[in-house]
Amino acid sequence: MKDEITRDERVDNLKGMGCSRKRVEDARFTQGKGNYVDDIKLDGMLFGDFVRSPYAHARITSINTEEALKVPGVLAVLTAADLEPLGLHWMPTLAGDKQMVLADGKVLFQGQEVAFVVAEDRYAAADGIELVEVEYEELPVIVDPFEALQSDVVLREDLVAEDGSVPDGAHGARKHPNHIFTWEAGDKDPTDQVIAEADVVATESMYYHRTHPCPLETCGCVASMDKVNGKLTLWGTFQAPHAIRTVVSLISGIEEHNIRVISPDIGGGFGNKVGAYPGYVCSVVASIVTGKPVKWIEDRMDNLMTTAFARDYHMTGKIAATKEGKITGLHCQVVADHGGFDACADPTKFPAGFMNICTGSYDIPTAYLEVDGVYTNKAPGGVSYRCSFRVTEAVYFIERMIEVLAIELNMDAAELRRMNFIKKEQFPYKAALGWEYDSGDYHTAWDKALETVDYAGLRAEQAQRVEDFKAGKTRSLMGIGLSFFTEIVGAGPVKNCDILGLGMFDSCEIRIHPTGSAIARLGTISQGQGHATTFAQILATEIGLPADSITIEEGDTDTAPYGLGTYGSRSTPVAGAATAMAGRKIRAKAQMIAAYLLEVHDNDVEFDVDRFVVKGAPERFKTMKEVAFAAYNQAIPGLEPGLEAVSYYDPPNMTYPFGAYVCVMDIDVDTGVPDIRRFYALDDCGTRINPMIIEGQVHGGLTEALAVSLGQEIAYDDMGNVKTGTLMDFFLPTAWEVPNYETDHTVTPSPHHPIGAKGVGESPHVGGVPCFSNAVQDAFRPFGNRHTNMPHDHWRIWKTANELGLHE
């Protein structure tokens, strides 16, 4: 065979790591040919939907289903009483609590599932829902966690002993019937002491409001029980299909091999699709009862009002420093509103997620964190909305505290950050609250960012603007938002990370076909991240077959190896590592085959891009394609036929991506309308697999950050009514509201990851939220603003201006 192309061309042909390969998924998505759960249509399929509570806290005195059952097409109405004999009226949550599947005597939040109407189509189900008569006896509503901790009103009677005492919960002692847990990290006394003795202490309380991931596709499933062979197939919007299979088996008693869970295409997850919802359980039960497939699909209001929310953290911080600005200690106290059930999605040992990353990018010697989880009459959840387990909260907290400290010290906030960054040579860095940061070069990233945006120039312009404002020449102020974040992703090492006892490793299984193409299956599941594109690129570089010849498949538990799924930016750090490791196993065997074919010793050949060459004789080689064929047609002494590998990867540590963001914003003081003039985002996610996909992830994450900081919220009134249950009021930005993002990068590989990649999907959200918020707050700093809470929608910005006396 003649070899005319150059080595560089051979590299290019693979479309491996570093290549902005076009997304293979997009051909079907852009043509409307995706296959989402609601696209699944089976013979005789029924449709189920919920009667939901209009009240936030009420006792149910009766449920009458008679009229509903008369609606043509309505076949059954399930209530808690029907599920109880099966033991399915409650289900375990991911956080060690339990949650009602259908209201068992009372409801704890507006929209709670009360009855499940099963009908021949969704129209009949909707009509049936209208006719289920539920009598409620209203109870006092608590929407404020501080009030909950004082109140005599007990939300969860099931968690109080008969003598009125409060038994321990899944995370230890509880101090009140409405209290869920206290979780601590760091050293309390030394921190208190540092703060007591410090030159300067800045104290601030902030509320990180409740919001919602709001994926474009809502949650749903199709359950199909085949009574002939006893197999249950469950299609659904699952970010963790394997974990769902195990959970379904544990709670239903169906043996795990008889359950097949399939996540088809998923239209965005952002954490919303990690947990288990009553709709899944009810669909399964309804399918078992009727013997027919049952579909359940949320509408937008169901999704916003009842499935997993994010944040709702009340955070109080104290940050201590020398008068020169060197930070000496940090104290963080959190009251976390978890709603009616603790259905937070965090690794078991971390009921407040990785909130203890809240020392951020700074070398803070002493710190203490305390989080109290509290029940209220709001929807359950508490997921990581495009961030790894409460990291957004942590980064928002520290990036606000830095700004407040800068005010206290009368210092420039950029300089204060630079002074306190962990230095490059300090990595691996052991943080005061327990984590060991793998690698970083913060100063380089920060300097590059500030230089690119001409930070000094921006500050001069801002000062001029303030003067003009004071002179009555303009009614617009200018804010410069800074944020430097350190993410913690890639959960995680099995020794300290599990969900419901399942270790958070991940997996990849590869089969090379005789003609030199391949299929790889992983334990993760893409929800828009482009796994089929990027994982093929990792393999292309590792095994020397073109990415275009590698199929990536995820989401079918009957075929894919076990894994914990996709959330918390864990796919590349964990499953991506498994992919590289499995690829290396393939390569190791391929090397032996190549050596045999070349009639040399194993150690005398070496891998080069897409082939094995005899050391010192590059004209003698076997391509990976040739090796693949040989694996299936040659009897090689001492080697089994075939070319397959599987790897289960237990990461030795988390990965710590970081980045430097700057936002420039003009604010109309009179109307409260912000205008984002510029947004610069420098991300360091270690090794870059596909720069185009990274850029897309950054744009998406920044847009969600913009949404959360500038208006997106799940707001409740005092009666526990959701005020923002439709997209008319729940802010989802469009192309119109979104600025032009400038992206940039540095590359600091992870030292412990096989390819040095750290994950990027969530960074822009984590770093973006404080950046937008800081821009708003910075605009008002010259007039005495210290801190105002998000979301910075028009009226709240206006209110800040108003309270600072900036209106006539």
Binding site: R300, A715, M728, H794
Partner: protein, 284 residues
């Protein structure tokens, strides 16, 4: 988000529409673009057992720019308004306002008739029509009648139109002077936090005539005669504008919602009016 069952009709002429309305009384409703009505039905806030689609009824989709007035058929869409060349010169405020309604997808469906007949205080065209002193043409079993836009709105979703009447067109007297439609909203596709429609005539540096209407600041659109009066005869200087703002604030009655509390809305209403007046005056 599934409506209750309903019968769907698609009559070919107005006679067919009117006989269906006579037959089913308040159980029937006409549908134009459906972009206000269908969401209400899906939320089960509107119960419409008999839905009469106006799409196939002829003669409702014309725009006629005459010498002293403009006539716009009820089924003319917001998108038609934006693309119509004659309107762009004869009544540029219509285009300026229509571009601030919803988003392109909604504007392809949403009609002028539906927008003004709906009676939702959030709709932009009712205030606009009051500003332009439009007349609404209605047809019913007893024939046709005309109602001035400024007399049409009674309360939220309550208008002078009887249930069995259909709005066929609006007529606008030919416009004079400068114009502006100023709207603050939270995002594309949102109804106004506050909006102002202003048409103003400048004769030698003096305001000879002014017309001002506000949107989403009461349960109906607010045509503010007092605000107009505050401008007429002045040079539209700062004190005149302030007087107009104060007069307007006396006429509106906003309520708190997710956009913000009353104090905020009043403040923004004043600012929006000021900007609308300044822009209109600069074009007058």
């Amino acid at each position: 988000m599934i409506p209750a069952a309903f019968e769907y009709y698609r009559p070919k002429d107005m006679e067919g529409v009117l006989s269906l309305l006579a037959e089913h009384g308040d159980e029937a409703r006409v549908m134009a673009g459906g972009h206000s009505l269908i969401p209400m039905m899906k939320l089960r806030m509107a119960d419409v057992p008999h839905l009469i689609d106006l799409q196939d009824v002829g003669g409702l989709s014309d725009i006629e720019v005459g010498t002293d007035s403009i006539r716009i058929g009820a089924m003319v869409t917001q998108s038609d308004i934006i693309t119509h060349e004659g309107l762009a010169t004869a009544a540029p405020i219509l285009r300026e306002a229509a571009l601030q309604i919803a988003d392109p997808q909604v504007r392809y469906m949403g009609t002028v008739g539906g927008n003004v007949a709906n009676g939702d205080p959030g709709n932009d065209m009712p205030g606009l029509m009051q500003c332009l002193d439009a007349t609404f043409h209605l047809i019913g079993a007893d024939g046709t009648r005309d109602v001035p836009a400024r007399d049409f709105y009674e309360a939220a979703y309550m208008t002078a139109r009887e249930d069995e009447e259909v709005l066929t067109a609006v007529t606008i007297p030919l416009l004079k002077g400068g114009h502006a439609y100023e709207k603050q909203k939270r995002k594309i596709g949102d109804y106004a936090t506050a909006a102002a429609a202003v048409q103003i005539v400048n004769e030698g540096g003096t305001c000879a005539a002014a017309s001002i209407a506000m949107t989403n600041l009461s349960d109906t659109p607010i045509y503010s005669q007092a605000a107009c009066d505050a401008l007429v005869g002045t040079s539209v200087d700062d004190s005149a504008i302030k007087a107009a703002m104060a007069a307007m604030l006396g006429d509106i009655d906003p309520s708190e919602d997710n956009r913000g509390p009353v104090a905020f809305k009043k403040h923004v209403a004043g600012i929006i009016l000021r900007r609308a007046i300044e822009r209109a005056w600069s074009r007058a």
